[in-house]
Amino acid sequence: MAITEQTPLELTTGEDRTSSAGDPMGVFARPRANTGWRSWVNTVDHKKIGIMYGVASFFFFLVAGVEALMIRTQLAVPGSQLLSADLYNQVFTMHGVTMVFMVVMPLAAAFANYLLPLQIGARDVSFPRMNALSLWIWLSGAIFFNTSWFLGGGADGGWFNYAPNASVTFSPGFGIDFYAIGLIIMGIGSTVSAVNLTVTVLNMRAPGMTLMKMPVFTWMMFITQVLLVFALPVITVALLLLSFDRIFDAAFFDASKGGDPFLWQHLFWIFGHPEVYIMVLPAFGIVSEVIPVFSRKPIFGYPFMVGSGIAIGFMGWGVWAHHMFASGMGQMSILAFSLATLFIAVPTGVKVLNWLATMYGGRLRFNTAMLFSVALVGMFTIGGLSGVSHAFAPADTQQTDTYYIVAHFHYVLFGGALLGLFSGMYFWWPKVFGHFLGERLGKWHFWLTLIGFNLTFGPQHILGLQGMMRRTYTYFDDQGFSTWNLVSTIGSYIIAISVLVFMWNMGASYRKHRRERVDPGPDPWDARSLEWMVPSPTPEHNFDETPVVEEFDEFWHRKYGHDENGRLVRIAKTSDVAQTGQNANVHLPSPSYWPLVIAISMPLIGYGLIFNLWWAVPGAILLIAGCYGWVMEPSTDPAGGHHHDDHDPEAGPPDAAVAELAKGEDLETGMSNGTDDGGPESSTTEEAPVG
C-alpha cells in the first residue's frame, strides 16, 4: 500500500490527521469535472443521481412499454401468430420484471433521491458516495438483465418465476439465470439506497423538523425505504437458492430430492407483497403533496395520513399468502391470510377519503399535475376494490390467474403508482429543470392516458370474469374473448400515443425554454414544503442556509397566516422568504469514480457465473480494486472546490467539524450538516451490503 508511514504509536484519536489523507489514492486522479458527461458519471450529488435514476427508468419504461405493446398486439385478435409462445412468454416476463424493478421502483427512487434531502432541509443524503453506488449498481443490474435478450433469450418464468418451472430442467436457457443474478444485483443497489435514505430521513433533518412535521411525501418515502430494507433480503434468499439450484445443481426446489416448491412461493411473496406497497406508497406521497397545493388547503388529517401509511407498511407483512389462495395451502392458512388481507383496505381507504376531504372546500386548480393526482384517487380505488374482491379466498380461486387479476394490478400499478409518478413529474419538473412542462400538451397527455388506460384495463375485468386466463399467448375465436381484447389493444395504443405526447412535451418544453427563458422562480405553484424555498433548478448546494423548521408545511407558514375567520392571508412575499442560491461557499462532498467501478464489476461477475466462471475473474478483481480505492479515498477532495482550508471533515467526527465551524462563523452558513461519507467508517457500510 502506498501509505505514508507514520510512527504508529503517535497516532491516536486525538491527533491531527496525517498529510496522506489528502493524497488521491489508487489509479485515478480524483475526478473534478463539474460539467459535461464526466460530471454525471462521477457525481455524488443527490440531485444529479435522482435525475439519472429518472432518465434511466424512463428509458426502461419505453422498453417495457414496447414489450406491453407486443403483448397487446399479439392478443388483439384470436389465434394470432405474431409472437411464438416461447417469445410471448419471454415478453410478458420481461415486461413484468422490467416494469416493477426497472421502472416503478427506480422512478420512485428518482423522486426520493431528488426530493428527500430537499424536503427535510438537508444538503445531501447521509452517504452521498453510497448513493452514487446504488444508482450504478442498480443500473448495471438492469442493463445486465436486459442484455439477456441478446444472449439467448429473456427470462420466461413469469415475474414471480415459480419453481420448479424455473429450474434448469424445465427452463434450460439462460433467461432465468439472468433473472436471478440481475435481481440480486439490483437488490444490492436497492438495499444500499434504502439504508441510505432511511438514515437520511432519520438523521439529516433540518433543525426543528420533527418526524411529525415531515411532509407526507417524505413520510411515505421513508416507509417505502423501511419496507425495502426488510423486504429485499427475503427475495435475496430466494434468488440465492434459485441460483444455487440453477448454477451449482442444488435441489432446493426440486421435489424429487425433497425440495419444496412452496418455499419459493412463500419467500417470493413475503417480499412480493411489501413490494407492491413499495411501488404505490411513493405515488401516495406525491399525491398527498400535489392535492393540497392545488386545493390551497393543508392535507386533511395529516396524522391519519401518516398513520395509515405506517399501518399499510405494517399490515403489508402479514398478507403475502393471498397470492397463494389456490396453491393448496391448508385451510387455516387461507383463512388467516384472507382475513388479514381484507382489513388492509381500511388504512388505504383512510387515505383515499382523506384526499377527497382535502379537496372538499378547496379551490381546485387543475394543472396537469393535479389532474393526474385526482385521476389516481379514482383509478386506484377501482384497483383497490378489485383487490378486495379477491381478498375473499373462495372468490379468488375463481379469479386468480385470470385477466381479472391483470386488471387489478394494472389499476393499482398504472392507475396508482404510475399516474402518481406522472403527476410528480409535472409538479416538480420546474424545480428540477428550471422550466415548466407544457400545460397544453400535458392535458393531452393526461386525457389520452386516462382514456387509453381505462380502455386497456377496464375490459380486462370483464375478460377475466369471463374466464380468460392470463399468460396465454393466444385464445380462440369461439371462446368469446375477442371483442374486449381488441378494445384493450386499442387502448394500449392510445396509451402509447399519450406517452409519445409526453415525450414530445418534454422536448418541446425544453426547446421553448431555450428560446425564451421563463424563470419559474423558486415557488411556481405557491407550494408548501421546503424544496420550494430554493431556486429552480435547485443549486448544487441546495439551501444557502439550513432552514429552521417550526411547523408542518413550514414554507407555507412563512408565506401565509390566518385571519380571525380562518381565511388565508399573505404575510410575506415569496421572494422574501425564498432563498437566492447565492451562497457558493458551501462545503460539498467530492465526486468519485469508485462507485462506478464497483458497479461495473457486478455484471461482469454475473456473466461469469452464467457462462464461464473464469470470466468472473476480471469482475472480481475490479470489485476488489473498487473497494480498495473506495476505502482509501477520502470523502472530500482537499484540492477540490468548495473547500474550507480551516478544517477538513477527516479531522474529526462530522459533529466536531460543524461545532468548530459554528464557533467561528455564522451558525447557519456553511454548515456541512453532517454530510460525511467515507473515511474509515464507510468501509464498513460499504462492504456490508455486499455480504
Binding site: 491516536t12 484519536t13 486525538g14 432519520l202 430494507v229 426488510f230 427475503v234 421435489a255 425433497g258 419444496d260 412452496f262 418455499l263 412463500h266 419467500l267 413475503i270 407483512w317 402479514g318 399468502a321 393448496g328 395451502m329 391448508g330 385451510q331 387455516m332 392458512s333 478544517h647 479531522a651 474529526g652 467526527p653 459533529d655 466536531a656 467539524a657 461545532a659 468548530e660
Partner: protein
C-alpha cells in the same frame, strides 16, 4: 467508564456526550464469562440423553432456546451497546428481528413444518375433512 481521555481537539464536549454509553472492560469480561457458562450449559445438553434419559429431550430443547435468547440479548445489549445507545437503534434492530421471526414462523407454520409427518407428501396438507355433512 473512562472514555473521556484525550479525544479530538475540537470536539471534546461532543465526545463526552456521545460516549457516556458503553461498559468497562471489567463489565465486558463479566458478560463474557456469563456467556461462556451459558454456552457450556448449552453444550452439555448434548449428553442429557445419557444422563437424564430420553425424556429430557423436550426440556433440553426448551433450555437451549431460552439460553440462546439470553445469549443473544446479552451480546446485543452489552457488546453492541444497545443498553446504552439511543433507543432508536434498539427499535430498528428489534423491529427487524421481530419481523423476521414472525414472518418466517408464519411461513413455516403455513408449510406445516410442525406437523410434517415425513411422508412423500411434503408437509402433508391437513387431512381431507371427513366426508360428512352434505354441502348444501
Amino acid at each position: 467508564m473512562s472514555t473521556e481521555t484525550s479525544t479530538t481537539k475540537g470536539s471534546d464536549d461532543l465526545e463526552h456526550e456521545e460516549h457516556t454509553h458503553g461498559g468497562t472492560d471489567k463489565q465486558y469480561f463479566q458478560i463474557f464469562w456469563i456467556l461462556v457458562v451459558l454456552t457450556a450449559l448449552e453444550v452439555s445438553t448434548e449428553w442429557w440423553d445419557e444422563w437424564f434419559g430420553e425424556g429430557s429431550r423436550p426440556i433440553a430443547v426448551f433450555v437451549l432456546i431460552t439460553l440462546m435468547i439470553i445469549k443473544f440479548f446479552l451480546v446485543a445489549s452489552y457488546f453492541m451497546h444497545l443498553k446504552w445507545d439511543t433507543p432508536i437503534l434498539k427499535r430498528i434492530f428489534y423491529f427487524g428481528m421481530i419481523v423476521a421471526i414472525a414472518v418466517y414462523l408464519i411461513a413455516m407454520t403455513s408449510m406445516n413444518f410442525w406437523t410434517d409427518s415425513g411422508t412423500t407428501e411434503f408437509n402433508d396438507p391437513p387431512p381431507a375433512p371427513p366426508p360428512v355433512e352434505a354441502s348444501d
